[in-house]
Symmetry: C2
Subunit: 410 residues, 2 copies
């Protein structure tokens, strides 16, 4: 059985539709991957996710390794069984979290706190950030491994290319990722190059180890790095493409401007093999989603719909940045659903006034109802995107959303 | 159409089965009334409540009057429409909250904080408790009204027998309550008697006002008071029974011992008319539920299943106090459901290990899954109770739960 087939390339862009087959079902691409960091998509259950039409989840190896541990999850039958999700699932290698939480502290906690608010809070409680600020770095990268400290209890931890494969084997997701080092825009060319070369050596080690222990059910994705440097991105795209991965992730976009991100995709994707699925690791907003898909991305994970939902930012088409802040007093007695005609459970049953009330009264149900809407809104957009690609009309769909796709560099 | 029919009186106890008809459907009694204080049963949606088999909700007039206000809810079509619940619903008069939050401050915040943790936290934030401790009481009871201050913003508020009927008319629940003064065990006989007599005068005023504005769809419940004093309880039971209420609430049990509660029911219920439904306002745990039903209670509201759920106390039959603390490390890798054979969504899909993980990781989904189980557990118990009454076997069912019903005083 072929794991991935490209079925409808768009003509005006590099976008494409495809079908990705996993032991837990098919995914129609381009697809959003809902983020379930700690083996739960925050505030909603698997029943909600099925009804919304979520195709695939990504859980986080760093978090699950620290708590409850891959051995507990394996004993419970693996991630699918543990969290009651029988659809397709990914895990990332955890390298990004292990690295970021330590390294970003060197550049001030403010920045990292916006990316990992919960982790930073836990680390503050444990006193680990204080120790880190006093010079005891939380992270050290060697040829062998990423050495880091748990943000939960400060315990020393180590990720190697091999053990992250083993942890992810125990977690049991359908698609897993190699360990990589995600450099930041604060790193210079020389450091970014050295890190990329190490990431390449880690990719080879991970692939070798994966071959030894693979059960034939999991697919392994390599990761392209190289920062914001064209020659490094090209070098990395070629290197990772030549290895026998089942799919390719594009990493390292955090902290960049939108244009940086688009340029990286323009440099990288034309060098990747057509027949492998391409995953963009961690993406931001609706505009980015259109641009990434137009450049040939098949899968992307994105915390925005769920995180924004919990802050009361509800997604709509006709507003600035595609969202309204439901805590605004203007919604206090607004009888309309978030989006007229939206078929999500929330819009079918509740008014903006009720959501405003739940958020104002700090009721837990607010989180679930808001998350259901934002996830449904994005899945509904993805269905439109796939249809538009099939009709050679992605540029027109983007234009209808006020987004111009006419700036692809090469 | 008769609003209430008693269908199966038990022989060994004063328990009875019945059917209570409302414009939003029938309730089979004895029935648990799920608490939806702020127009939401905390952490679950109406979809969850329907699947669990919840028959009826009670929302809180004090809270909804302060936020979002009965006018907003009326504009949104009333409580049912506002919160997306199309089943039977009650509101209480709000007197208990208006009174307790102020009065209990005189006896120390500790006690009231255990009953109203969220409200006390909000009041602390607003500085209202501090002002109250400095001698500016939050509550004043006159012949005319309960005057109190909002725990949200300190604004002066007033509940009268008449305006609480009007507020509840706007909220639009199927069953509503008269304003009463719920005395505490700290009040002496003289005060309790004076308060009871005022409550009686308020009952007459409320009923008169209700008759003027009633639409024929809402049912009005009077409330028996009289503290822990036998002659007062008897006097109140007779007085309230003679008025033309649709049902009767028994109030004032908070802060008493279990035996006090049982004695009050033994004194009161034999004096109430057989043909009216009897509601026990605010009850504690499973043992109390059996004792109240055995004494002839038809309806009771109870925050225990939902509040305990949010603290990780999950209800089971075979454990001390009928619950386990899921945050205990012993459950870290426990593959069993909370209760073997339980048909709730949580037990059908998730292990104790997963729930332990969600609580430990402070994931929002923990609240929903735990609440679903506890509510289902109680609804399932109520189905057993109704069947047992039909089979003249309530004493035996209670014995099977380790509860002796053989202590009814008269």
């Amino acid at each position: 059985m072929k794991r991935f087939s490209v079925e409808a390339p768009d003509s005006g862009t590099r976008a494409r539709c495809g079908v990705l087959r996993t032991p837990h079902g098919e995914i129609h691409t381009p697809s959003f991957v809902a983020v379930g960091t700690q083996a739960t998509v925050k505030a909603v259950g698997p029943d909600d996710l099925k009804k919304i039409g979520i195709q695939i989840l990504i859980a986080n190896t760093y978090h699950l390794h620290l708590r409850p541990g891959e051995d507990v999850i394996a004993r419970l039958g693996g991630l699918h069984s543990f969290m009651g999700w029988n659809g397709p699932m990914m895990t990332d290698s955890g390298g990004f979290q292990a690295f970021s939480l330590g390294a970003a502290i060197e550049h001030g906690v403010g920045k990292i706190a916006s990316i990992f608010p919960d982790e930073v809070e836990a680390a503050e409680r444990g006193g680990h950030l204080k120790r880190a600020r006093q010079g005891q770095s939380l992270v050290k990268i060697t040829e062998e491994a990423i050495e880091f400290r748990s943000h939960l209890d400060g315990s020393p931890q180590k990720f190697t290319p091999e053990n992250t494969i083993e942890i992810q084997r125990k977690l049991g997701a359908d698609m897993i990722f190699v360990l990589d080092e995600c450099t930041s825009p604060l790193h210079d060319y020389e450091y970014t190059k050295r890190a990329m070369e190490r990431t390449h050596r880690w990719a080879v080690r991970a692939l070798e180890h994966f071959r030894k222990i693979a059960d034939g059910r999991q697919a392994l994705f390599g990761i392209v790095q190289g920062g914001a440097y064209k020659d490094l991105r090209e070098q990395s795209a070629k290197f990772i493409s030549e290895l026998d991965f089942d799919g390719i992730g594009i990493g390292g976009s955090v902290g960049r401007s939108k244009d940086d991100l688009y340029r990286v995709l323009d440099w990288t994707i034309p060098l990747l093999p057509e027949e492998k699925p391409r995953h963009l690791l961690g993406i931001g907003e609706i505009e980015d989603i259109f641009h990434a898909i137009a450049r040939g991305i098949d899968l992307f994970d994105c915390v925005a719909p769920t995180r924004m939902a919990r802050n009361g930012a509800l997604w709509v088409k006709d507003a600035k940045d595609f969202r309204i802040n439901i805590t605004n007093a203007v919604y206090k007695a607004d009888p309309r659903p978030i989006v007229e005609g939206c078929e999500c459970y929330t819009c079918q049953n509740f008014s903006r006034a009720y959501l405003h009330h739940l958020f104002t009264a700090k009721e837990i149900l607010a989180m679930r109802l808001a998350t259901i809407h934002n996830l449904y809104f994005l899945e509904s957009l993805m269905r439109q995107v796939r249809r538009a690609i099939g009709e050679q009309a992605l540029v027109e769909l983007a234009a209808d959303w006020g987004i111009s796709l006419g700036r692809m560099s090469s």
